[in-house]
Subunit: 145 residues, 2 copies
DNA sequence: AGGAAGTTGCAACTCGATTGCAAACTATCA
DNA sequence: TGATAGTTTGCAATCGAGTTGCAACTTCCT
């Protein structure tokens, strides 16, 4: 997304579009896989870790981004694809965490299966993350055993 | 489970049944909801945090227990229900994390929906955790708004 | 019994993330 | 324009979960 688009998205979500927030959102929009705070820090050299952390918290609060744990030990962040105010959980895709290369990827074509909860439970979001071995590592493995 | 049963389970999984490991496994077997390292430490006063941590790592390795992230910031552990060597992911239940009381509970009747992965991906395990508001907190909320 | 291997507790450390605080910036209004 | 209140940012310190190095202890085997 362009800087302008990011700015517009922030305003649309009710967030004051500061330089730092635009940079964080734009970086997330450019990526093809979810990013951790650490990765964002490395890719946004001009911003401090704490500034990125606070920006992410604000973007999360205003539903401009999602977060989830993939088992890597750090929380992953991803821009919210849906432009609607409430991003329906059933529209969201699942993630795959490779235990060999420790990379998380989006399985964009596979949507999160939404379970029917018992009476009384209110669903906010679902973390559906598959752990295993990705095709690349799988191939690498079978070549040199 | 009795001490003897825990010991047998450890031996069956190929783990030397030391006092610490039996205590950790037994504590997990007694609980109705998953426990964090911190909780286990509090409930097992005679054992050191590091001993519990190492025991959990070993039990995980030998598939006597499962672990998953619920978004609380700490990893949760749960005894493996299935007595079979490989605990099939489709037999496992989903979890619910309440964002109000920050407690994780098992939804024993709801099994993890298993997605079909694209060619080349090897599935090891799935983390399916729903976040939201539990019935108790929901009720409490509606009483005093 | 004696020695090797495995296990445990303590303290120190690692790592991801957050917080307190002061400086810098922004918006608003006189 | 300049004063001022409110917001945002960067730095350093801190937090909290978890792991590791090491020495003491236990278990196992002959």
């Amino acid at each position: 997304m362009s800087t302008k688009q990011c700015e517009d998205m922030l305003v649309g979500k009710g967030v004051r579009p500061t330089a730092a927030r635009i940079l964080v959102l734009q970086k997330l929009s450019e990526r093809t896989s979810p990013a951790s705070l650490f990765e964002l820090e490395a890719e946004l050299e001009t911003l401090d870790k704490s500034t990125i952390s606070r920006s992410l918290a604000l973007l999360l609060e205003h539903h401009a981004i999602h977060s989830f744990e993939d088992g890597s030990g750090s929380i992953k962040y991803e821009i919210c694809q849906s432009r609607s105010e409430t991003c329906p959980v059933g529209d969201r895709h699942i993630h795959f965490f490779c235990e060999v290369c420790r990379k998380t990827s989006c399985l964009n074509n596979i949507k999160i299966p939404v379970a029917q909860l018992p009476e009384g439970y209110i669903m906010d979001t679902i973390n559906y993350t598959v752990k295993g071995v990705c095709p690349l590592c799988n191939k690498r493995r079978s070549l040199k055993p």
